[in-house]
C-alpha cells in the first residue's frame, strides 16, 4: 500500500509539470518514471542498498532510451551511441532550455528527460525509504521536492496546479496514516481522512497570504541571444517602400488573401515605436495567444524575394512554421537569421481569430494602456473630443478609427517619421500622411484614452496570380491593434482606403466597414456606457466554476459523511472486538476500553495505580474502586501466569462500563465531541513514539 502511494506521489509530482509540457507528452513520462523504479525497488528489497541503487542506475538509461529516445535505439530498447550522446546532452543542457523555451514546451525527448529523471529519483528515494526505514512522512518528501521544482518552472504556463497540490496533500496524509499503522483494514480507514485533509488543503490554499506575483525562475536566466540583424524598425521603412512601390518582396501561396503581418511594435518613447519582445527559439512552434474562440485555419507557403531584415511575414496568428529556423515572441511575430539569398521558402500554418460581433461589442480592454511619453495632453483632448459619444471601449476605438479615416488624407509623398512632433503636425496642420502616421497616431490616441494599443507593420494581401499573391514594397501597411479581455489583440485600420483597394483584396478595409456597422448598432442600442458586466465568454466560465463548486461541495459532503461514519463506527467495532476471545483477553479488553474512555489510551507508560490516580482526578473518588478492581483483575490476567475464569471477565467488563460512564459524565461535552470526531478515534491506540532524542528502546 505504501509503495503504491509513493508511486502515486511521484507520478502526481511529475504531473506538476503540466504547465510546462503538453498533457499527452507528459502523462506517459510521469507514469513510467513513477512506476518502474518503485517496482524495481520492490524486487530488489532483499539486496543491499548499494546493489539496489546500482540496478536503478542501470535501468534508468535503458528505460529512457526505450521510451523517450526509441527512434534512435537498437532493437527498440538498447541505447546506441547516438542515444547515449543525446541523453548526455539532454542531462547537461535541458535544464537551461526548459527555462528559456516558450511554454508549453514541445514534447521533445531532450526536454522530457528532465521530468523523467526527477520523477524517477523521487519514486526511487520514496520507495527505498518505505522499504528500508520506518519513517512515516519522509518517503513523501522527494516527491514534494520535485513538485516544488515543477511549479516555478511552469509559472508562465497555462492552467492551475492547485488540484495537483490537493491530490499531493491527500496522498501524503494517506501515506502518513498507512505508515503509522499496518494491516489493510485500518489503512482503508485512512482514506477518508486523507481525502478530508486534501480537500481542506484545496479550500485553504487560495486564501493563504502569498506574494501576488509568483516567483519565476525564468527571470534569472539570460535569454539565448537571437541575432537582430535588422537594426531598422520596419515602421521606418514604410515611407521608403511607398516611395519605390514596385520592388517584389515575397510571394505567398495561400487559399485566401489576408494581410501579412511582419512586425509588432509595442513601445513608444515619443520618438519612435519599437519592439520590447523577448524572442525564443521554439523549434517552429508558436505559443497560442489569449484568444480561445472561433477561428479559421490558413496554410501559407511563403517565398522570400527582396524582403530585407530578419522579420518573416505570416498571417496572424501563426501556429507552426516549418522550413526555416525561427525565433518567436509572445505576440507571434517571427524572426529568423536573414539569409540574404532570395528564394528561401517556408510554410506557415495560422489560426485566424473570428470573434463574434457580440463579443467585440461587449469587450472590455485588457490591462493598462501601456507607457505614454510625456506631454500628450494635446492628443488626449483630441481623442476625448472625438470619442465623447462612445458607449463602450470597442466603440471608442471604432470612433477614433473612423475619425482618422474620414477627416485625414492618405498621401504617399508626405515626409516619414512618427515622433510626437511629426504626429502633432500631421493631426493638426497637414492632415496628410502615410499609414505610418495613421497607425502611430491611432495607437497613441488610444493609449491616451486608456486602451492598450500597439502598432503592427505588415502588408496588404498583394497581387493575386492563380493561388499565389505577389507582395510588392508598395503593399506595405501599418495598422494598430487594441487588446481586449478574452479576445486578444483586435486590428484597427485608421488609414483611409486607396482607390484600388477592392482589386487588391484589401482585407482590412472590409473589416472596417463591418466595424462601422457595429459602431452604429452600439449607438442605437439602449444601454449604459459601461461594458456589460458578464460577457458570454465569462458566463461560460462562471457556469463551469459553479459546476465545479457544486461537484466539489458534493465530493466534500461525501468525504465528510464517510469520515463521520468511519470515525463513529471505529470505536464501536473496537469495543466489540475487545469483548471477544478467552477470559484473559476479555479482561485485557475491558482495561483497554476503560483507559481509552478515560482518554489515557495514548499513555501506555502509565501503570494501573497511576491510571487510577488520573481517573480519580478526572472523575472524582467514586471511580477509584472500579478502576482499582479492574486494575487488579487486569494485572492478574496479564502477569499472574494463571488462568482466569469467565466470571472474572464479566466482572471486569462491569467495572469497565461503570468507570466509562463515570468518566464520560465528568468530561465536558465539547471535549467529548472533539475526542469522538478526532482522527485518532480511527486507530487502535498504540504506544506513542519516544521523543526523537530518545532512540528506540529495545523492544521485543
Amino acid at each position: 500500500m505504501a509503495l503504491v502511494l509513493v508511486a502515486g506521489l511521484a507520478g502526481v509530482a511529475g504531473w506538476g509539470f503540466q504547465r510546462v509540457f503538453e498533457t499527452r507528452a507528459l502523462v506517459p513520462v510521469a507514469g513510467v518514471a513513477a512506476v518502474v523504479p518503485v517496482s524495481l525497488a520492490a524486487l530488489t528489497r532483499r539486496w543491499p542498498l548499494w546493489a539496489a541503487l546500482a540496478a536503478q542506475t542501470v535501468v534508468w538509461p535503458l528505460t529512457v532510451s526505450a521510451t523517450l529516445f526509441q527512434a534512435m535505439t537498437v532493437a527498440g530498447v538498447l541505447p546506441s551511441a547516438s542515444t547515449a550522446a543525446e541523453l548526455g546532452q539532454a542531462l547537461v543542457n535541458s535544464w537551461r532550455s526548459l527555462l528559456t523555451v516558450i511554454l508549453p514546451a514541445p514534447g521533445e525527448p531532450r526536454l522530457l528527460t528532465v521530468p523523467h529523471l526527477l520523477v524517477w529519483l523521487a519514486a526511487l528515494a520514496g520507495a527505498e525509504l518505505v522499504l528500508r526505514s520506518r519513517a512515516r512522512i519522509l518517503p513523501a518528501l522527494p516527491a514534494l521536492a520535485v513538485f516544488t521544482i515543477a511549479v516555478p518552472l511552469g509559472v508562465d504556463g497555462p492552467g492551475s496546479v492547485l488540484p495537483t497540490a490537493g491530490v499531493l496533500v491527500a496522498l501524503v496524509a494517506a501515506l502518513a496514516v498507512v505508515r503509522g499503522e499496518g494491516g489493510a483494514p485500518r489503512s482503508l480507514a485512512a482514506l477518508p481522512l486523507a481525502a478530508v485533509v486534501g480537500a481542506a488543503g484545496l479550500l485553504l490554499a487560495p486564501s493563504l497570504p502569498v506574494a501576488r506575483e509568483p516567483f519565476d525562475p525564468r527571470t534569472l536566466v539570460e535569454e539565448p541571444p537571437v541575432a537582430r540583424v535588422d537594426g531598422v524598425s520596419p515602421l521606418d521603412r514604410v515611407s521608403a517602400w511607398l516611395q519605390v512601390p514596385t520592388t517584389p518582396l515575397f510571394t505567398v501561396r495561400a487559399p485566401r488573401p489576408h494581410n501579412w503581418r511582419l512586425a509588432v511594435l509595442d513601445r513608444y518613447d515619443g520618438v519612435r515605436w519599437t519592439s520590447s519582445s523577448r524572442f525564443r527559439m521554439t523549434g517552429g512552434r508558436v505559443p497560442p495567444g489569449p484568444y480561445r474562440g472561433a477561428y479559421e485555419t490558413l496554410d501559407q507557403q511563403v517565398t522570400l524575394e527582396g524582403l530585407p531584415g530578419g522579420w518573416l511575414p505570416a498571417a496572424d496568428r501563426p501556429v507552426s512554421v516549418s522550413g526555416v529556423g525561427v525565433a518567436v515572441d509572445e505576440s507571434g511575430t517571427l524572426l529568423s537569421a536573414p539569409s540574404g539569398a532570395p528564394g528561401r521558402t517556408y510554410r506557415v500554418s495560422s489560426s485566424i481569430p473570428h470573434p463574434s460581433a457580440e463579443q467585440r461589442r461587449d469587450a472590455s480592454p485588457a490591462g493598462g494602456p501601456g507607457a505614454l511619453p510625456p506631454k500628450v495632453e494635446v492628443f488626449r483632448s483630441l481623442a476625448e473630443r472625438v470619442t465623447r459619444d462612445a458607449r463602450s471601449p470597442y466603440q471608442r476605438a471604432s470612433l477614433l478609427e473612423h475619425y482618422l479615416r474620414t477627416k485625414l488624407k492618405y498621401d504617399v509623398t508626405s515626409p516619414p517619421g512618427h515622433s510626437l512632433a511629426v504626429l502633432d503636425y500631421f493631426l493638426r496642420t497637414t492632415h496628410r500622411g502615410t499609414s505610418e502616421q495613421f497607425a502611430a497616431s491611432f495607437a497613441l490616441l488610444a493609449r491616451t484614452l486608456g486602451l492598450p494599443s500597439r502598432v503592427v507593420v505588415g502588408f496588404r494581401p498583394g497581387t493575386a496570380d492563380g493561388g499565389a499573391y505577389h507582395v510588392l514594397s508598395g503593399d506595405v501597411l501599418a495598422w494598430a491593434e487594441i487588446e481586449f479581455e478574452g479576445l486578444g489583440w483586435l486590428p484597427f485600420d485608421p488609414t483611409p482606403e486607396r482607390g484600388d483597394a477592392r482589386a487588391r483584396h484589401d482585407v482590412v478595409g472590409t473589416e472596417v466597414k463591418e466595424r462601422e456597422r457595429l459602431a452604429e448598432q452600439i449607438q442605437a442600442s439602449p444601454g449604459t456606457s459601461t461594458p456589460s458586466p458578464s460577457p458570454p465568454a465569462v458566463a461560460h466560465e462562471d457556469d463551469a466554476r459553479a459546476a465545479g463548486a457544486i461537484a466539489a461541495a458534493v465530493a466534500g459532503a461525501v468525504l465528510v459523511l464517510g469520515y463521520l461514519v468511519a470515525v463513529l463506527a471505529a470505536p464501536v467495532l473496537r469495543r466489540r472486538r475487545r469483548r471477544r476471545g478467552d477470559p484473559a483477553e476479555r479482561v485485557r479488553g475491558a482495561w483497554s476500553q476503560a483507559c481509552e474512555d478515560l482518554g489515557l489510551a495514548r499513555e501506555p507508560a502509565l501503570t494501573a495505580s497511576e491510571v487510577a490516580e488520573r481517573a480519580a482526578a478526572l472523575a472524582g473518588p467514586e471511580i477509584s474502586p472500579h478502576i482499582t478492581a479492574l486494575a487488579d483483575l487486569s494485572n492478574y490476567a496479564e502477569f499472574a501466569g494463571r488462568d482466569i475464569g469467565p466470571d472474572a471477565a464479566e466482572k471486569a467488563w462491569r467495572h469497565s462500563t461503570e468507570a466509562s460512564t463515570l468518566a464520560s459524565r465528568a468530561t465536558p461535552r465539547l471535549r467529548r465531541l472533539v475526542r469522538l470526531l478526532h482522527p485518532r478515534a480511527l486507530r487502535r491506540p498504540r504506544p506513542p513514539k519516544a521523543r526523537p532524542r530518545e532512540k528506540e528502546s529495545a523492544q521485543p
Binding site: 507508560a605 496479564e638 502477569f639 530518545e694 528502546s697
Partner: protein, 320 residues
C-alpha cells in the same frame, strides 16, 4: 502460594512498623531497606548527617535478631581493619584468623567515601563474594548478610568518590531525607519516652528471614515483565544524556527487588508497578551522565524518571 504471600506481607508490615516506631515518617526508606534485606542486596544511604542513617540500621538489626557491626571509615583505615587479620599464636605456634567487623549479619559502613580506595575495594569485594580470603583461606560471612553503607554527598573534602564499578554492587541507593515537620515534632516528643532501640521487640528470627528470602525468590515473573525490565534498562544505555548505562547486573537487581516488593504487597506475581516503583533507587546510582547533561543540572534520577514515563508498560508491549 497466595497464602504464603499473605504471610510474607504480614511479616514485612510488622517489620516496617517496628522500625518506624524509632525512625518516624520514613516509611519509604524503611521499606526499601527491607526489600534490600530480603534480596540479600546492599544499600547505599546517601544523605546529610543527622537524618537517622545509623538509627535505621540499628533498629533494623534489632528487629530481626541479627548481629550488627559498625565500621567508621577514615582515611587511615586499612583493609585488614575490615576483613580481619591472621595473628601468630605463640601457644599453638599457628596463625590464627581474627575476624574483622565484616563478619556480621548487618554491617554499617559509615562514611564509606572517607576511606582509601584500597580499603573500599576490600569491603566491596566481600559484598560481592560473601566471603573473605586471607592467606589463601576463605571465610564465609553469615547469612543474611547486608551492608548498609552511608556517605555524605555535601562534604567533599578528603573523600574518595566510589568508582562506578563499585557503586554497581549496591542494589539500591536510598536517600533518607529530613522528616516532615509533623514527624519531626513526633520525634522531639518521643525523645524521652519513645521505645529505645534496645527495647524494640524481635519480629523475625534468623531462620524466618532466610525463609522469607527463599520465598521471595520464587515469586512469578511474567515474560512481558522481563521484556519491560530489559526495555527500561536498555533505554538507559541508549539515552543521549547517559555516558554509561545500567549493566545486566542492574536488570537482575531490578527483577529481584521487584519480586520482594510483590511479595511484600501480598502478591505471588510481579506487576509493572513494582518495577516502576523500584527503578529509580535501583538504577539511578549506576548511571554516568554526560558532561553536557551534568552542566544542565540533570540528575540521574530525572533521567530514569523520564525513561519510565516514555517506556510503554508491559500492557502495551504485549499488544500485537
Amino acid at each position: 502460594m497466595a497464602a504464603l504471600a499473605g504471610e510474607f506481607r504480614q511479616r514485612f508490615e510488622a517489620l516496617a512498623g517496628n522500625v518506624e516506631q524509632v525512625i518516624r515518617g520514613k516509611r519509604e526508606a524503611v521499606e526499601l531497606a527491607l526489600i534490600c534485606l530480603f534480596c540479600e542486596g546492599h544499600v547505599l544511604i546517601e544523605d546529610v548527617p543527622g537524618t537517622g542513617k545509623t538509627t535505621l540500621a540499628r533498629s533494623l538489626a534489632a528487629s530481626i535478631q541479627a548481629e550488627l557491626r559498625r565500621v567508621q571509615f577514615t582515611p587511615d583505615l586499612l583493609p585488614s581493619d575490615i576483613t580481619g587479620v591472621s595473628i601468630y599464636d605463640q601457644a599453638s605456634h599457628r596463625f590464627e584468623f581474627h575476624r574483622g567487623p565484616v563478619f556480621a549479619n548487618l554491617v554499617l559502613a559509615d562514611e564509606i567515601n572517607r576511606a582509601s580506595p584500597k580499603t573500599q575495594a576490600a569491603l566491596l569485594e566481600v559484598m560481592e563474594e560473601r566471603r573473605v580470603t586471607v592467606d589463601g583461606e576463605s571465610h564465609e560471612v553469615p547469612r543474611p548478610f547486608m551492608v548498609l553503607a552511608t556517605q555524605n554527598p555535601v562534604d567533599m573534602d578528603g573523600t574518595y568518590t566510589l568508582p562506578e564499578a563499585q557503586l554497581d554492587r549496591f542494589l539500591m541507593r536510598v536517600a533518607v531525607g529530613y522528616p516532615d515537620p509533623a514527624s519531626e515534632v513526633e520525634v522531639l516528643k518521643g525523645m524521652p519516652t519513645g521505645p529505645r532501640i534496645d527495647h524494640l521487640p524481635l519480629i523475625a528470627r534468623a531462620a524466618d528471614v532466610a525463609g522469607m528470602i527463599d520465598f521471595a525468590a520464587r515469586i512469578h515473573v511474567a515474560d512481558s515483565i522481563y521484556d519491560y525490565v530489559v526495555a527500561v534498562v536498555g533505554a538507559t544505555r541508549h539515552s543521549p544524556e547517559v555516558r554509561l548505562g545500567a549493566s545486566p547486573r542492574a536488570s537482575l537487581a531490578l527483577v529481584r527487588a521487584s519480586k520482594v516488593r510483590a511479595a511484600a504487597a501480598g502478591r505471588h506475581f510481579v506487576i509493572p508497578e513494582d518495577v516502576k516503583a523500584l527503578a529509580v533507587p535501583v538504577l539511578a546510582h549506576r548511571l554516568l551522565l554526560t558532561a553536557e547533561a551534568e552542566l544542565r543540572d540533570r540528575t540521574a534520577t530525572a533521567v530514569v524518571t523520564e525513561i519510565l514515563s516514555q517506556t510503554p508498560g508491559p500492557h502495551a508491549l504485549t499488544k500485537p
